[in-house]
C-alpha cells in the first residue's frame, strides 16, 4: 500500500531558486497534490502551492510534473513508478512568485481585452431561443476551467516573452471561437481575432490540445475554425467577390465588426 515517494520540488522566488529533495510517505489512490500537501504539513510549512477544489474543476493547481504541464490534483501517483523521483516545478511561462505559485495576471489582462457577448433583444415573451445543436460547439469551449496550461505550454509566449503583448493565447482563441459561433452574438470578431489577439501567431502545433485537462479540442475545434473564419473575412478573394455580388451565406447577417 504505502511507500516512500522521492520528490524534487522547485523552491524559490523571482530572485532565484532550485530543486529541493523531499521524501514523503504516500498511499494508494493518491495524487501528486496529496504528496505535496503532506510535504507542506510535515516538512515545509511554508511551501507555496496554489490549489482549490482538488477535483480538477477549478484549474488552480497548474504546475509542471517531470517537465509536463499538468494539474497537480489530477496527476495520480499510480501513473509513476514507485521508485521514480517526481520533479515538480512551477509553470515556466509566467513570472514566478514563490515556489510553485506563478503570476498568471497575463491571462486576466488578456481577458479584459476581449469584447463581451452582445446579444440582441429578447423575444416577445421575454425569453431567448437557441437550438441545442447551435449551442453545442460553444458549450465544449465553455468547459474550460481556466487552468492556463494551454497558455503555459504555448511556445509563442513560453519561448518568446516579447510576443506576450500581441498574443492572447489558446484560452482566448477558444473564447473568440465561442463567441463567433454563438447563435445570438451580434459582433463580428474575426478581424479582432487576427489583429489584436494575434491568431496568426499560432502555428497550430497543438500543444494546447495535448495539455488540456478538460479534453477540449482547442486546435481542431476552435483555433483552426477561427483561422478559417478569418480567411473568409480577410484572405479569400472568392468570398470577397461573392459578398460584392450578393452570392453569400446569409448566416452571418446582422453582425457588426468590433
Amino acid at each position: 500500500m504505502g511507500y516512500q515517494l522521492k520528490m524534487r520540488v522547485w523552491r524559490g522566488d523571482e530572485s532565484g531558486g532550485d530543486l529541493g529533495d523531499y521524501t514523503v510517505e504516500v498511499s494508494e489512490g493518491e495524487v501528486v497534490l496529496d504528496a505535496l500537501h503532506r510535504v507542506q504539513a510535515t516538512q515545509a510549512g511554508d511551501l507555496a502551492i496554489r490549489w482549490n477544489c482538488k477535483a480538477g474543476k477549478c484549474g488552480s493547481c497548474s504546475a509542471e510534473i517531470n517537465g509536463r504541464p499538468r494539474l497537480l490534483c489530477m496527476s495520480r501517483l499510480s501513473d509513476f513508478e514507485e521508485d521514480e523521483t517526481i520533479t515538480v516545478t512551477p509553470l515556466r511561462t509566467f513570472p514566478v512568485i514563490r515556489d510553485l505559485v506563478t503570476d498568471v495576471s497575463f491571462n486576466y489582462e488578456k481577458a479584459r481585452e476581449l469584447p463581451s457577448f452582445a446579444p440582441p433583444p429578447r423575444d416577445a415573451d421575454n425569453k431567448r431561443r437557441m437550438a441545442q445543436v447551435d449551442v453545442e460547439r460553444g458549450q465544449e469551449f465553455r468547459k474550460c476551467i481556466e487552468c492556463f496550461l494551454c497558455q503555459n505550454v504555448c511556445h509563442v509566449v513560453r519561448d518568446h516573452e516579447e510576443n506576450k503583448p500581441a498574443f492572447s493565447g489558446p484560452r482566448f482563441f477558444l473564447r473568440y471561437a465561442e463567441l463567433d459561433m454563438h447563435p445570438l452574438d451580434t459582433h463580428d470578431r474575426r478581424e479582432l481575432a487576427q489583429g489584436a489577439a494575434g491568431l496568426g501567431m499560432c502555428n497550430i502545433t497543438k500543444c494546447c490540445t495535448e495539455v488540456c485537462p478538460e479534453g477540449i479540442k482547442i486546435t481542431d475545434n476552435a483555433i483552426i475554425p477561427m483561422k478559417e473564419r478569418v480567411v473568409d473575412r480577410k484572405y479569400d478573394p472568392l468570398v470577397w467577390l461573392g459578398n460584392k455580388i450578393g452570392l453569400r451565406t446569409k448566416d452571418n447577417d446582422g453582425r457588426t465588426e468590433v
Binding site: 477544489c53 477535483a55 498568471v104 446579444p119
Partner: protein, 640 residues
C-alpha cells in the same frame, strides 16, 4: 484602470511590491464585496450597475471559487418544461424541504425572482442546455415538484461563475485576487457602523485597508471544519466569523447539510461530490446486497408524493403526471440518513459506502452526454467507468444552512453596512436546502444585497463612518500574532496543519450526520482544547505567500464556527432537516417555532446562544400549506 494608490494591477494585484513586509495599501470604495463566488460576483455586478465604485476581494484567483463545483443546476420556476410550474409551487417546495424553518420572506423572494436572474445569465452569454423549442432546459431534482433546474450538463456552477466573471470583467469592476479579509472595521463613534475592511495580500503578506461604508460578505460555507467534505480549502467560515466579530448574529448553525452522495474511494478524494443529477437522470441507490433500499426509508411527511413500488418509481422518469417520484429523489437529509443507516447496519460496500448505479439503467451514450464531468471524475480519479460499473458513494459535508442573520429584503445584518449573501447568510433554506436552490439563492440575494448596499452608501453622502487608526494597528497585530507566538514560546507550538486536521476529525466524529448529547458535549470540550493549542501554534517562514500563516489565520475562523455549530446542535433537542439527534429522533412541535441564534460573547472568546421565534408567515402564504391545498401532507402541523 491604474490604481491611484500604487501601480499594482487592479485586476490581479499580482505586481510584487518592493517593500513587501512593510507599508499598507489603502483603497476607498463605495461597496466592497468579500468573496468572488456566484453571490459575490452577482452582488458586485448589481452594486456596479447601481452606480457604486465596487471592489471584489477574494482569497483565490478570480473564477476559482467554490461555485464551480456546483453541478446540478439553478432552481427557477421558469415553466419551460412544465407550464404549471410557478413561484408558488417553488416556494412551497422550498419551505417543505426546509421543514418549515425557513425565513418565509427569503423563500418567497427567491422563488419569485430566480427565473429573471437565470435569464440575465443568458443575456450575459451563458449557454444553457436547451429544450426542443429552444428554451432553457430544466431538469428534475430532489424535493422539487417539477423539473425546474436550468443546467449545463453537470457543470452548471462553472457556467454560472464564468458568465458572472466575464460580466464583471467587462464592466471593469476592480478585483483584488488572492487577498484575504481578516477584519471588518467599525466606527464605534458612529454607532458601530461599518467603516472598512482589513486584510492582507496572500502573495506578499502585505496589509491592505479598504475604506468603505458597505461590506458584503459572500465567503461561502464552513465545510472545511469537517474531514469528509465536498468543500474546498476556502470554506473556513470566514464570513461567519467576520460577521460575529463585528457584532452580527448567526442563525440555524446546527443545520449542516450532508450530501448523500460523495465519493468514498480513493481516500484522497473522499467526500468529493457526486451530483444529484445522477439520481435525477435515473440512477438508483443499492446496498451491498443489491437491494434498492430507499423504499424502506420514505418518511410519513413525503409518503403521499413518493412512489412506493419499483414499478411506479421507474415509470416516473417517462410519465411524471401519473406516477409519483422515486424515493431516491427525496430531500437530501432523508437520503443521507438512509445511506448512513444502511452502512451502519453492515450493508455497506467494501470501501464503506453504498452503490449508486446508473450503469445498469441508462445507455453509456446517455450517461456520457448528461453527466460528462461525473464520467470524467470517476474515470480520472477512481479508475471507475460509470457507464459500466456502479459508483461507491457515501454522505459528505456539503453545505451549511446556517449563516449570518440578515434582513430578507436587503440582506443587511444587525450591523449597519454589513451584508451577507449566499451560503454565509442564513435563513433562506431553513433546516435543509433543496438541490438547485443554492445557485438561485446566490443570484437573487446577490443582486438584492448589491443594490441595498449601494443605496445605503449613497444615502450617507460625504458623511461616511471613519476607520479608527488604533483599530488598524490592532488588526495588524492580530494578523501577525501567529508569527509572534513562535518567537515568544521558546519550546515552539504545534503547526496549524495538525490542529486543523484534528479539528476536522473531531467535528466529523462528534458533530457529524447523527448527533447525541454526550458526543456534542465532548466536541465542545475538544474545541476548547483546540483553542488553547491554536493560541500557541507555530508558523514557519515569512509573510510572502506562506500557506502555513494563511491557515493559522483561517483556523481561528474555523474554531469559532465549529463551536457555534456544536453549541446550537446540542441545544436543539429534536431531529429536523440537516440536524439529526439520535437521542431525540423525531421533530418536536415546540422546536418547530424557533430559530437558534448565536453571537460572540462579550470578551470574544466563546459563543453565546439564544432562542428566537420564527418570523410569522402572512395568511396568504399559509394557505399553500393547509391540508386542503394540493396533496395533504400528514404532518403539516409542523409549519404552524
Amino acid at each position: 484602470m491604474t490604481n491611484p494608490v500604487n501601480d499594482r494591477h487592479p485586476m490581479t494585484g499580482n505586481e510584487m511590491s518592493g517593500d513587501a513586509a512593510g507599508g499598507m495599501e489603502r483603497h476607498r470604495y463605495d461597496v466592497v464585496v468579500v468573496g468572488a463566488g456566484g453571490a459575490g460576483l452577482r452582488a458586485a455586478i448589481a452594486a456596479h450597475d447601481a452606480g457604486a465604485r465596487t471592489a471584489i476581494v477574494c482569497k483565490s484567483l478570480l473564477g476559482k471559487a467554490h461555485t464551480v463545483m456546483a453541478e446540478g443546476g439553478i432552481a427557477a420556476a421558469m415553466g419551460n418544461r412544465w407550464p404549471e410550474d410557478n413561484w408558488e409551487v417553488h416556494f412551497r417546495d422550498t419551505m417543505r424541504g426546509g421543514k418549515m424553518l425557513n425565513n418565509w420572506r427569503m423563500a418567497q423572494l427567491h422563488a419569485q425572482e430566480a427565473p429573471e436572474r437565470v435569464m440575465e445569465l443568458e443575456d450575459w452569454g451563458a449557454l444553457f442546455d436547451r429544450t426542443d423549442d429552444g428554451l432553457i432546459s430544466q431538469r428534475d431534482f430532489g424535493g422539487h415538484k417539477y423539473a425546474r433546474l436550468a443546467h449545463v450538463g453537470d457543470r452548471t456552477g462553472l457556467e454560472m461563475i464564468r458568465t458572472l466573471q466575464q460580466r464583471a470583467v467587462s464592466l471593469g469592476i476592480d478585483v483584488f485576487m488572492e487577498c484575504t479579509v481578516t477584519d471588518v472595521m467599525l466606527d464605534q463613534g458612529d454607532g458601530g457602523k461599518v467603516s472598512g475592511a482589513f486584510g492582507y495580500w496572500r502573495e506578499t503578506g502585505r496589509f491592505v485597508l479598504f475604506e468603505t461604508p458597505s461590506v458584503i460578505l459572500a465567503t461561502g460555507g464552513i465545510g472545511k471544519s469537517f474531514k469528509v467534505t465536498s468543500n474546498s480549502w476556502e470554506y473556513t467560515g470566514d464570513g461567519h466569523a467576520l460577521a460575529m466579530r463585528a457584532g452580527a448574529s448567526l442563525i440555524n448553525m446546527e443545520f449542516v447539510q450532508f450530501h448523500p452522495t460523495g465519493m468514498v474511494w480513493p481516500p484522497s478524494v473522499k467526500g468529493l461530490l457526486v451530483t444529484e443529477s445522477v439520481r435525477g437522470d435515473g440512477g438508483v441507490l443499492k446496498n451491498a446486497e443489491g437491494q434498492r433500499f430507499m423504499f424502506d426509508y420514505i418518511p410519513e411527511y413525503f409518503k403521499s408524493e413518493t412512489a412506493d413500488t419499483v414499478e411506479e418509481a421507474d415509470a416516473w422518469y417517462d410519465d411524471k403526471k401519473s406516477n409519483r417520484r422515486p424515493p431516491e429523489l427525496l430531500p437530501r437529509d432523508e437520503v443521507a440518513r438512509a445511506i448512513n443507516s444502511e452502512i451502519k447496519a453492515g450493508r455497506g460496500t467494501p470501501h464503506g459506502g453504498i452503490y449508486l448505479d446508473i450503469a445498469s439503467r441508462r445507455s453509456p451514450e446517455f450517461i456520457r452526454k448528461r453527466l460528462p464531468s461525473m464520467y470524467h471524475q470517476f474515470k480520472e480519479l477512481a479508475d471507475v467507468d460509470i457507464t459500466a460499473e456502479p459508483m461507491e458513494i457515501g454522505p459528505t459535508c456539503h453545505y451549511v444552512m446556517g449563516g449570518v442573520e440578515v434582513d430578507a429584503d436587503t440582506q443587511q445584518s444587525a450591523v449597519t453596512g454589513l451584508y451577507a449573501v449566499g451560503e454565509c447568510s442564513g435563513g433562506m433554506h431553513g433546516s435543509n436546502r433543496l438541490g438547485g436552490n443554492s445557485l438561485g439563492d446566490l443570484l437573487v440575494f446577490g443582486k438584492r444585497a448589491g443594490e441595498a448596499a449601494t443605496a445605503y452608501t449613497a444615502s450617507l453622502g460625504e458623511d461616511r463612518p471613519k476607520v479608527d487608526e488604533a483599530d488598524v494597528k490592532a488588526a495588524e497585530r492580530s494578523a501577525l500574532a501567529p508569527f509572534e507566538v513562535s518567537d515568544s514560546l521558546a519550546q515552539g507550538g504545534e503547526n496549524p496543519y495538525t490542529i486543523q486536521s484534528d479539528l476536522q476529525q473531531s467535528m466529523n466524529d462528534l458533530v457529524g450526520i447523527i448527533r447525541t448529547a454526550p458526543e456534542l458535549e465532548r466536541s465542545l470540550s475538544e474545541i476548547e482544547a483546540f483553542k488553547v493549542r491554536a493560541a500557541s501554534m507555530k508558523v514557519e517562514g515569512h509573510r510572502q505567500y506562506n500557506p502555513g500563516w494563511h491557515l493559522a489565520l483561517d483556523l481561528r475562523n474555523m474554531l469559532v464556527v465549529s463551536e457555534a455549530i456544536a453549541k446550537a446542535a446540542l441545544a436543539r433537542e429534536e431531529s429536523r432537516g440537516g440536524h439529526t439527534r439520535d437521542d431525540f429522533p423525531g421533530p418536536s412541535e415546540e422546536w418547530a417555532t424557533k430559530n437558534l441564534v448565536v453571537d460572540l460573547n462579550a470578551d470574544g472568546t466563546g459563543i453565546d446562544l439564544h432562542e428566537k421565534p420564527l418570523p410569522e408567515m402572512p395568511d396568504e402564504l399559509k394557505k399553500y400549506f393547509e391540508p386542503a391545498a394540493a396533496e395533504p401532507p400528514a404532518e403539516s402541523k409542523e409549519g404552524k
